[in-house]
């Protein structure tokens, strides 16, 4: 019971991080593709909620190390390098965005901030995906003899990078759909719509690449799917949404397309969850995989974690709603 509540909050935090933090990253990627002119729009859209969007990741980390310490320590040890790169991305991006926004003098330095902002907007989700890919793939070898086998091979492969790329594309898609509703300029709006459609199409292609690369790296992802009808249902549903999503984008139905895009992303995360539940890290090489159940912390700890999460949410969620309403509500009324 306690463990289910904690898993629920873990999933909840991951979903919120992807939906909000992910869209922030995507906005940076979008800038990289679309050029400079959207910068103000993007900065305005993410400014007030910027910090809050990224706290979700800290919740994920805290839930992991308090509730499932063995999962946290295993990731930290064998995926040290991709985690490190992701952290550099987080630092560069977080600081570049704020420094750019608050620099008292606007001059050539803006280009530097912007360059770092865009590059790290790609780097961070790419390596976030690489880490997820490595957790699924099962190439972690606790008895590895060489540095390469222990600390590089688990993540430096086609599959992990395909998941990374998929992550980048997915986040960019979220950002494009989100920004459609943030702009009043018709020309810009149609540019975002066009971008959203294109990126959505490339998400399908990269999604296929994930499956192909899995086969190439000896992971029969399809077989894993066969074992979980929930995972299949999630993927089928995510695909079934596509035509409706496209239609809503075409007619720029802002709320509907945002909802459908979010639903699609949530379904993909759920598919990932179900395809390996209760496993969290496929370790590989004959070593037992780490599941929620064999890595769980003692009962007393889980109870305190649940209290903190439940009471914390009762404080955070209404306050977060107030924040969103204060800064996002107005624009809907303006239309």
């Amino acid at each position: 019971m306690l463990i289910d509540i904690v898993i629920f909050f873990l999933g909840f935090s991951i979903i919120f991080y992807v939906l909000f933090g992910g869209a922030d990253f995507g906005a940076g990627v979008l800038e990289l593709i679309s050029g400079e002119e959207d910068r103000e729009k993007i900065a305005d859209a993410i400014g007030p909620v910027w910090e809050a969007n990224h706290v979700w990741l800290i919740l994920v980390v805290v839930i992991l190390f308090m509730g499932f310490p063995k999962i946290y320590s295993t990731m930290s040890l064998y995926l040290h390098i991709p985690l490190l790169i992701m952290l550099v991305g987080i630092v560069l991006r977080g600081t570049a965005f704020t420094y750019m926004h608050y620099d008292a003098i606007k001059d050539k330095s803006n280009h530097v901030y912007n360059f770092i902002f865009k590059i790290s907007s790609v780097l961070t989700p790419l390596f976030l995906g690489v880490i997820v890919g490595a957790m699924v793939l099962g190439k972690i070898d606790p008895n590895a003899e060489t540095f390469y086998a222990a600390f590089i091979a688990p993540w430096f492969n086609l599959f992990a990078f395909s998941v990374g790329l998929f992550c980048v594309v997915l986040f960019t898609f979220l950002a494009a759909v989100y920004l459609i509703g943030e702009t009043k300029n018709e020309q810009q709006k149609s540019a975002f719509i066009k971008a959203a459609k294109r990126i959505n199409a490339s998400a399908v292609v990269v999604g296929a690449l994930v499956f192909i690369s899995a086969q190439m790296n000896d992971l029969s992802l399809l077989e894993l799917f066969y074992e979980s009808w929930l995972a299949i249902a999630a993927v089928v549903l995510a695909t079934a949404i596509l035509p409706f999503l496209w239609k809503s984008l075409h007619y720029s139905q802002i709320v509907l397309s945002r909802g459908l895009a979010a639903a699609q992303v949530i379904l993909i995360i759920l598919a990932w969850f179900w395809v390996q539940y209760p496993v969290v890290i496929n370790v590989g090489y004959g070593t037992e995989s780490l599941t929620f159940y064999n890595a769980v912390a003692p009962q007393a700890t889980m109870l305190q974690l649940v209290w903190a999460l439940v009471i914390g949410s009762c404080i955070i969620l209404p306050f977060l709603y107030f924040l969103m309403k204060t800064f996002k509500g107005k624009q809907f009324i303006d239309k």
């Binding site: 706290v55 805290v62 040890l77 977080g94 420094y99 007393a300 924040l323």
Partner: protein, 439 residues
């Protein structure tokens, strides 16, 4: 470079960097709230301008603190996976609450920074207070977790495994209160003096600048009161350390040989080989009094501990001297300020006093860094005092010096950019305010 040393240095750099922004995040919201309160009450525009100018600095520092804090939450595992695997379920509880506190802080800061025109004045002021209170709460939770490393509680250690875990007892360990109190007050001392010092230096260029005058008065009032209270909490902390971690206290004081009564050793250079402190001033019986409240009490020296359980005495002792020295200078300046404010207000903005305040600008943060060094280095060789050694907790990944170089370079770069950004804020600020002071 040895992996253990690299990991410790990376942790030191990361925490030493983060602690500055954490302190600013704790104390600055209250300075802004005072300014905004005065604006709402008096309607004087200068106070709103001040709150807004400070809030820009806070936004920059907060973003830096948020990302360096995120890095730390991962680094605990990246560098000390064995430690986290055992300690996570025991001392994770304050972190789980810190998550909420930090979330509230981030939300409230968003409202504060972007809500000047969207919220009613008192609601806006309230969001600033919430930023400060949740910052204080965050700090207390994190320090409680650190205190657990100094004073492990809430579990039984049997054959290298923790059993009978009680996270509540772990969070409210014996050290949490004294450490949290000392750190929270330190945040106000450091931030207050840094802000006051900065505005004092700017006043030296333009003594009639109303903006900087108001700014210095608010910041110095907060810093002064905190600096005067701080020695009391320091005394309480020292007595606590003497009870719980006598080896740390002995290293702090350079106290090699157990003695009754024990003299207080001020300054000097400890020599671990000869087991004595060169060039120090000794005050007879004073350490007995400071550590145990009795001039004739016995104080345990390092001789009671096996050599391999000694903290590095040189670093711990010198860091402790720096912290106490800086603390006393700030306390004295704080007292002078309050006296002048009370009796001779016209002297406050004379050059000599502005110089003193200006020179004090870095002292608070030097004390914070030194004090943190005392608590961390003084705990060595333990990561969990008496339970797990730091060398047994370090990651087994070879080549840890490279992440250390990477993060050191990254944080040096950010420090340079921050100084540059602050300069640019100040340049534009004085341009705006020179005219206002002429009016």
């Amino acid at each position: 470079m040895e992996d253990l040393l690299a990991a410790r240095l990376q942790m030191a750099v990361s925490l030493g960097f983060h602690i500055i922004f954490a302190c600013i995040g704790i104390a600055m919201p209250f300075l802004m709230a005072i300014a905004e309160y005065k604006w709402i009450r008096t309607g004087e525009q200068v106070y709103q301008d001040l709150a807004k100018a400070w809030s820009k600095g806070v936004a920059i520092f907060f973003a830096t603190g948020a990302v360096s804090g995120t890095v730390l939450s991962f680094e605990l595992g990246l560098l000390w996976p064995t430690f986290m695997e055992h300690a996570g379920p025991i001392f994770g509880m304050p972190f789980s609450w810190e998550g909420t506190a930090f979330f509230v802080e981030a939300i409230a800061l968003g409202l504060f920074l972007y809500g000047w025109d969207k919220l009613r004045p008192w609601v806006h002021w309230g969001t600033g207070i919430v930023v400060g209170l949740s910052g204080v709460a965050s700090g207390i939770f994190v320090v409680a977790a650190n205190a657990w490393m100094n004073s492990p509680a809430g579990f039984d250690w049997v054959n290298g495994q923790a059993i009978n875990i009680d996270p509540v007892a772990a969070m409210f360990n014996d050290a949490w209160f004294s450490q949290a109190l000392h750190m929270t007050i330190a945040a106000f001392v450091a931030t207050g003096f840094a802000a006051a010092g900065l505005h004092a230096l700017l006043l030296l260029k333009d003594r009639n600048n109303l903006f900087h005058r108001k700014a210095m008065k608010i910041a110095l009032a907060v810093g002064a009161i905190a600096a005067i209270v701080q020695p009391l909490s320091g005394d309480y902390s020292a007595k606590d350390v003497a009870e719980r971690q006598p080896a740390k206290l002995a290293a702090m004081e350079g106290h090699f040989k157990t003695s009754q009564p024990a003299p207080l050793i001020i300054g000097g250079i400890p020599d671990e080989e000869a087991e004595e402190v060169h060039y120090a001033i000794e005050i007879p019986n004073m350490l007995s009094f400071l550590a145990h409240g009795d001039f004739n009490a016995e104080v345990i020296g390092l001789d009671q501990f096996p050599r391999d359980e000694w903290p590095p005495v040189l670093i711990t002792h010198i860091a402790f001297q720096i912290m106490v020295g800086a603390g006393f200078v700030m306390m004295a300046v704080g007292m002078v300020y309050l006296y002048l404010y009370w009796k001779r207000r016209e002297v406050l903005f004379q050059r000599w006093f502005l110089w003193i305040v200006g020179l004090c600008m870095p002292l608070g943060f030097i004390a914070v860094e030194a004090g943190w060094t005392v608590t961390e280095v003084g705990r060595q060789p333990w990561i969990i005092y008496g339970i797990m050694k730091t060398k047994d907790a370090v990651s087994s990944m070879p080549g840890l010096q490279y992440p250390f170089y990477l993060f050191t370079a990254l944080y040096l770069l950010l420090t340079a950019i921050l100084i540059w950004l602050m300069r640019r804020q100040i340049i534009t600020l004085s341009e705006r305010y020179e005219s206002a002071s002429a009016n």
